[in-house]
Every structure is written in structure tokens, then in C-alpha cells.
């Protein structure tokens, strides 16, 4: 079953058309890695999947909800789509625990007690149980990103979006974040990951999408895209990054 179905998606910033017609779908439990040069529109594409960017044309259906329909309750839909940002975007005025508990308690999904219990077990899962009462400012980049993942998971989403989750990290911290994401993938989470980590895409991704100039240029299994790229632009991109 398709978790996400995108048809003819278009997006412009002013006169600059960034997405020129994207068609793709993500099946339940599938891990899709989106790669491509900067400016190719991959981050914008990801942000259209939870409507952080307004859609100018085409349709985006997530979990049977039509995001392109102006009447759909976007807050309700977003509860089901977790997102992890390049710059973590933790709430600096809240402790780690409060960051994770904020949305479930604010949106009345859970009582304070339930939310606390869940937050602690999520912190356990990302290996940060001892940081529950710390504030974001005292954490390393890798720790911040793991908290951000826990925060997104606290709403029990069906889909997780990752927008270059390791690009802002020091190299020695990339591993701990990718490790958490790998665990998630193993547990069957549906994930769309915009990434520069080719090794991770090859190892964890079920499917790889190569974007350039606002189009999906090529897609396939990691073996196909990395081992036997068909398109010239894919070849030249991979030559540069591998």
C-alpha cells in the first residue's frame, strides 16, 4: 500500500520554479533516500510532503489525506508525519524532556504522566536517558539531533521525514545519528531521507531517488542507482561525491 503518493507536484518561489512536476510514491515501511546536487529541489520536495511549503500544482496524498485539498486539516495530518531538520530546531527554552513532551501534551494526545513515560523510553531508545533534564544548549550536535528524532517520534507518526539530518554535524557525530535512523528503518518505519551520506543511502535505503533541476532524474534500488547509473547527470554527480 502507498503511504505517500505524489503526482505532478509543482512549486515556485516567485518566478523561480523549483519543482517542475514530481511523480513518486512511497510504500509502507519503505526507506527512500533522496540525493542530488544542492539547488536540485530535494529539500523543497521534502517540505512539500508536510506542507511546510505551499504546493502550487499537482497532488500530494499522505495516509489517504489529500494535502493539496485546501479543506483538509493540516494540523491533524502533520501529527502523523514526523520531521527532523538539518539544524535540529530544538526549543531552547525547554529541557530535553519538555521538548519531547510538548506536542503530545499540548495536543491532548497524552496526559502529562503518559507523555513523561513515553519521553523517557524514547530517550532510552536514542541513548540519551541521562540527558532528560538537560537543556539543548548543553548538548552536542549529535545529541541534539537524537533528541529531535525522539521529539518527532513522540507523536507516534506513521511517516518520518529527514531533511539532511547529518549535514550540520561534526564527522565523529554522524554515526550516532545514522545509527538511530537505521534502528528506525529496521523497525519498519516509513522514511523519506534527504541526505548526502551515500554510504548510508546504499546500506539502509530500499530505494534511491536522484533529483536534479526540479525533476526526478533517476530512481531505483541502491544497487541500480549506485552500481549502474543510467543517466549522464547521475553519473557525473556520483563521480563527484563518491
Amino acid at each position: 500500500m502507498d503511504k505517500i503518493k505524489v503526482t505532478g507536484l509543482k512549486k515556485s518561489f516567485g518566478s523561480n520554479e523549483v519543482l517542475k512536476g514530481i511523480d513518486m510514491e512511497v510504500r509502507e515501511g519503505e526507506v527512500v533516500c533522496v540525493i542530488g546536487p544542492s539547488g536540485s529541489g530535494k529539500s523543497t520536495f521534502l517540505r512539500c510532503l508536510n506542507l511546510l511549503e505551499e504546493i502550487n500544482g499537482g497532488r500530494v496524498i499522505v495516509d489517504d489525506y489529500d494535502l493539496s485539498d485546501k479543506n483538509s486539516d493540516i494540523n491533524k495530518i502533520r501529527e502523523n508525519i514526523g520531521m527532523v531538520f538539518q539544524h535540529f530546531n530544538l526549543f531552547p527554552h525547554m529541557s530535553v524532556l519538555q521538548n519531547i513532551m510538548f506536542a503530545p501534551t499540548e495536543l491532548k494526545k497524552q496526559t502529562k504522566e503518559e507523555a513523561r513515560k513515553q519521553a523517557l523510553s524514547l530517550l532510552e531508545r536514542v541513548g540519551l536517558a541521562d540527558k532528560a533534564n538537560a537543556y539543548p544548549a548543553s548538548l552536542s550536535g549529535g545529541q541534539k539531533q537524537r533528541v529531535a528524532i525522539a521529539r518527532a517520534l513522540a507523536m507516534n507518526p506513521d511517516v518520518m521525514l529527514f531533511d539532511e539530518p547529518t549535514s550540520a554535524l561534526d564527522p565523529e557525530m554522524v554515526g550516532e545519528v545514522l545509527g538511530v535512523m537505521q534502528d528506525l528503518a529496521r523497525e519498519g518505519m516509513t522514511m523519506v531521507i534527504v541526505t548526502h551520506e551515500m554510504g548510508f543511502a546504499r546500506e539502509v535505503g530500499h530505494r534511491v531517488i536522484f533529483m536534479d533541476g526540479g525533476y526526478i532524474v533517476e530512481e531505483g534500488t541502491p544497487e541500480e542507482v549506485f552500481g549502474n547509473p543510467q543517466h549522464e547527470r547521475t553519473i557525473s554527480f556520483l563521480e563527484k561525491v563518491l
Binding site: 508536510n50 501529527e79 508525519i81 514526523g82 530546531n89 527554552h93 506536542a103
Partner: protein
């Protein structure tokens, strides 16, 4: 969470303060059997009206109108506004009559109805006591001469300035005019005789070197065609007082025995000149009260400015183009109009145009709130926009609605950014209350002007006021600094 509690507490404190000090604001007395008329007068026109050592309004005009009210069985509420403000307040209907040493002229008769003359005055020239070069009008050639706007002295000076070849500098009140002469900016001034003579008696540092000019007379004024019964009562009361000898007693009380009203010798029935320390000491109760009002108006105005700022600030960060436009217009409008003009507009122009009356304190609070509100709007907008966009996106991506995200995520962070600017605005608004003295608002600066009107000791009074403002503002900023540190610690 903690910040929110603190803000709520602060708000509660404000409202408490508001209602408590609210009782200090002069409010109209409940209707009584006797009709009450509001009479506008000047602030600084001794011996006709001025504040005595105890802070009470006294003077020939004040005693006269009160004696007449007594005689004719009505009540008066005196509003000390300054001459110009009083005349404009009369036109706009904010006061029923004006008694302010106002000369009866043909020009004024176009707009006002005057009573029978109650005092014969005439303009006279004053020069600095240590000035030996100006002995007659001839010596004024090529020099500058100070006058007070709207006085007979001003009219007279205007009429002879071409003949004697001098230029005019116009001032809003007597003490400024006298200071101008003492400071040497102008070599002489023209003032109504009793006023100047009284001032010299008080040691204002001027002297008289010429004879008094033949002049007109002072009258009590009402708006043309309005309040005729008040005018009639004034005339009847005046006649009664003159025949009973009460009138002479009132005049003699300020100008001494003799033909005072005709411009005779000024008597010695006035207070002796005080040392600066004594002056500060005796004036301190009035100053402290004035400072209390200054703080009160500052707090009330900032409270409303904050509400305006929240409303228009959230409009300015909204995604709705129309709301953003409304916010922008509000800021541009009230940031672009000088506070002085805004105060005149709110107090004189609007009531006049729409035919209603407004209390001075209300006009002052409106003007200050709108002005500060525009700045607070910008502070709030700037604070919100200084927060990384990712914060809002992170909250929205979790399914949190815009308003909740704004309240729980953005504002708590933005407030920390805003606090220093808020403190700055508080200091500015506190100082800006002094501007409201132009519409006669009683606050610290006005209290000082009133004392200067009586004593002419500008240096001591303004030095005292400056120090008082400095002390209060320093204390407030220190408190605010401490608060800021607590807020930023979260």
C-alpha cells in the same frame, strides 16, 4: 511556564496599581444642587493666577472668580491649563469660561463674549536689572525683544517694532520670557504692568525703566453666544464685590494698598525671596506629588501601549496582507506624528471637530499610549522575527497550531529579546510625560513650571527636576536590569 506566570503576576500588579492610583485622578464631583462651571486659566500669570507655597492656586483671578461664585451661588472647578491651552479649551468646549488676565480686544470679541472689565492693565517694558544700556524704546533698535504670546504687551510691542526697529521673540509663558531677558537672548520684554511689577517684587531679576503704556482691560470670557447666564452672573457678582469693597481687598492682597488696580505702587504684601534650599524644601511635596503622577501616567500609558503593541505587532507578523497593512499604517502614523502635535490633536482638535469634551489626563494617556504603542509594536515585531524560522517550523511539523506555537514557542523566546527595548521604551515614555505639560497635565514638569511661575527661580527648579528624573529613571532601570537577568535565566 514560569515566564508566563510572572507575566500574569505583573499584569495583575499593574491592574491593581491602576485601580488603586485611579482614585488620585481628579474626577468630576457628583452632581450637586449648585451648578458647577469649569473655568480655564493660565498656569504662570502671577499675580492673577499662580500656585502658592502650599500648592494651592491663588491670584487675583482665582480669588475673584471664587468670590463671584460665592456671591452668585454657583460652583467653579478651576483648570490650570496655560493661556493658549485655556483659550483653545474654551473654543473646543472643554471649559465653560476663561479667566486668565485676558485683555479685551476687538479681535477676540469675534470669537468670545467678554464680561465687564474687571481689571485695568497696560503694557510696560522690563529689562534685566544689570542692564544700563536700555533706557527707552529708542535703545531697542536692532535688538531682540521678548513677549508672551497673546498678551497686551505682545500687541503693543508688535505695534511699535517697526517704528523702533527691533525684532520679537514669542514665548508661551511669563517665566520663559523673563529667563530669555535674564539670559541675554533678548534685551527687554513687554508685559502687562501688574504681572511685571509683581515679578520684580518677587526678585525675578528685571527692572522697569519706562512708564506704563495706556492699555486695555482684562475680562472674563465665554464662547460667543454660549454660557450667557454665567457671563451675567459674573457681571452681577463683580458689581456686588466692587460696591461691598471685597474687590479692593482681593486686589490689595496681591498688589498692596493704594490704586493698585490702576497701576499704582506695588505693595509689600508678597512673600520674601527664598534661598534655593528653602525653595526646594518647600516645593518638595508638590514635586513628589508631581513625580507620583508622572509615574502613574507612565505606567497606565505603557500598559495600553503594550496592549496596542501586542495587537498590531501580531498583525505585522501575520501572513495576511491586509492585517500586515493595518499594522504598518498604525506604526507609521503614530511614530510619524510628533508627540506634541498628537497631544494637541487629541486634546483640542478632535473634541472641537466632533463636539465633545475630554479631560486632560485622558487626552494625555491617549497620546502617550498611541505614541508608545507604535514603538512597542515595532519592538514586538522585531522580537518575534528575530527568532529562527526553524522554531515555528519545528512546532508546526508536530501538528501544533500557529497560535499555540506562537504563544508557547516563539513568544517566550522573543520576550527575552524584547526586554531591553521595553526598558528603553519605559524610560522614553516616562520622560515624554513632561511633554504633556503643554496641555496642562499636572505631572512633575508642570509642578516645576508652577513653582517657577511664582518664584522665577528657573535654575534651582529645573536642576531639582532634572535630578529627580535622573534618580527615578536610574532606580527603574536598575530594577528592570534585575528583572531582565531573571527572565533571561528562564
Amino acid at each position: 511556564m514560569r515566564i508566563q506566570k510572572k507575566v500574569t503576576g505583573l499584569l495583575a500588579l499593574l491592574i491593581f496599581f491602576f485601580s488603586f492610583v485611579g482614585s488620585l485622578v481628579p474626577s468630576a464631583n457628583a452632581a450637586e444642587a449648585k451648578k458647577t462651571y469649569t473655568i480655564g486659566t493660565d498656569t504662570t500669570f502671577a499675580p492673577f493666577e499662580f500656585q502658592d507655597v502650599n500648592g494651592d492656586f491663588v491670584g487675583i483671578d482665582i480669588d475673584l472668580i471664587q468670590a463671584i461664585a460665592e456671591d452668585q451661588g454657583f460652583k467653579v472647578k478651576i483648570q490650570s491649563l496655560g493661556f493658549n491651552a485655556a483659550v483653545q479649551a474654551l473654543q473646543s468646549g472643554n471649559v465653560d469660561g476663561v479667566i486668565a488676565g485676558m485683555s479685551i480686544t476687538d479681535e477676540r470679541k469675534q470669537t468670545f463674549d467678554f464680561s465687564d472689565p474687571y481689571f485695568e492693565a497696560g503694557p510696560i517694558m522690563g529689562v534685566a536689572a544689570n542692564n544700563d544700556t536700555i533706557k527707552s524704546y529708542e535703545d531697542l533698535r536692532g535688538k531682540r525683544v521678548a513677549v508672551k504670546v497673546g498678551t497686551e504687551g505682545a500687541t503693543f510691542a508688535e505695534s511699535i517694532k517697526d517704528q523702533y526697529g527691533f525684532t520679537l521673540a514669542t514665548f508661551d509663558d511669563s517665566s520663559q520670557m523673563v529667563d530669555e531677558v535674564k539670559a541675554g537672548g533678548s534685551v527687554a520684554c513687554f508685559e502687562d504692568y501688574p504681572v511685571l511689577a509683581y515679578g520684580i517684587q518677587q526678585g525675578n531679576g528685571l527692572k522697569i525703566v519706562t512708564d506704563k503704556e495706556k492699555g486695555g482691560s482684562y475680562g472674563f470670557a465665554v464662547n460667543k453666544g454660549q454660557n450667557q447666564e454665567l457671563l451675567q452672573m459674573f457681571n452681577e457678582g463683580l458689581a456686588n464685590l466692587k460696591s461691598s469693597g471685597e474687590y479692593d481687598k482681593i486686589v490689595a492682597n496681591y498688589l498692596g494698598e493704594g490704586d493698585a488696580a490702576e497701576g499704582g505702587e506695588i505693595g509689600a504684601g508678597t512673600t520674601p525671596k527664598m534661598s534655593p534650599l528653602d525653595l526646594v524644601w518647600t516645593s518638595m511635596p508638590a514635586f513628589l506629588k508631581g513625580m507620583g503622577y508622572t509615574l502613574y501616567y507612565t505606567i497606565i500609558s505603557l500598559f495600553f501601549a503594550f496592549i496596542l503593541g501586542l495587537i498590531f505587532g501580531s498583525m505585522k507578523v501575520s501572513h495576511n496582507k491586509f492585517l500586515r497593512g493595518v499594522g504598518t499604517v498604525f506604526v507609521d502614523l503614530f511614530r510619524g506624528i510628533p508627540l506634541l502635535i498628537l497631544a494637541f490633536f487629541v486634546y483640542f482638535a478632535i473634541p472641537q471637530a466632533f463636539g465633545f469634551t475630554m479631560e486632560v489626563w485622558a487626552a494625555a494617556i491617549i497620546a502617550l499610549s498611541l505614541n508608545a504603542g507604535a514603538y512597542v509594536t515595532e519592538i514586538i515585531r522585531g522580537g518575534i522575527q528575530s527568532i529562527d524560522k526553524g522554531q515555528m517550523e519545528a512546532a508546526r511539523s508536530l501538528g501544533v497550531p500557529y497560535r499555540t506555537a506562537m504563544r508557547k514557542i516563539i513568544l517566550p523566546q522573543a520576550i527575552k529579546v524584547m526586554v531591553p527595548s521595553f526598558i528603553n521604551q519605559m524610560v522614553i515614555t516616562l520622560k515624554d510625560t513632561s511633554i504633556m505639560s503643554v496641555i496642562g497635565l499636572v505631572e512633575l514638569t508642570q509642578s516645576g513650571k508652577l513653582v517657577i511661575a511664582r518664584t522665577y527661580d528657573t535654575f534651582t527648579v529645573y536642576l531639582t527636576l532634572a535630578i529627580m528624573y535622573l534618580i527615578v529613571i536610574t532606580i527603574l532601570t536598575k530594577i528592570a536590569d534585575r528583572l531582565e537577568r531573571r527572565v533571561s535565566r528562564g
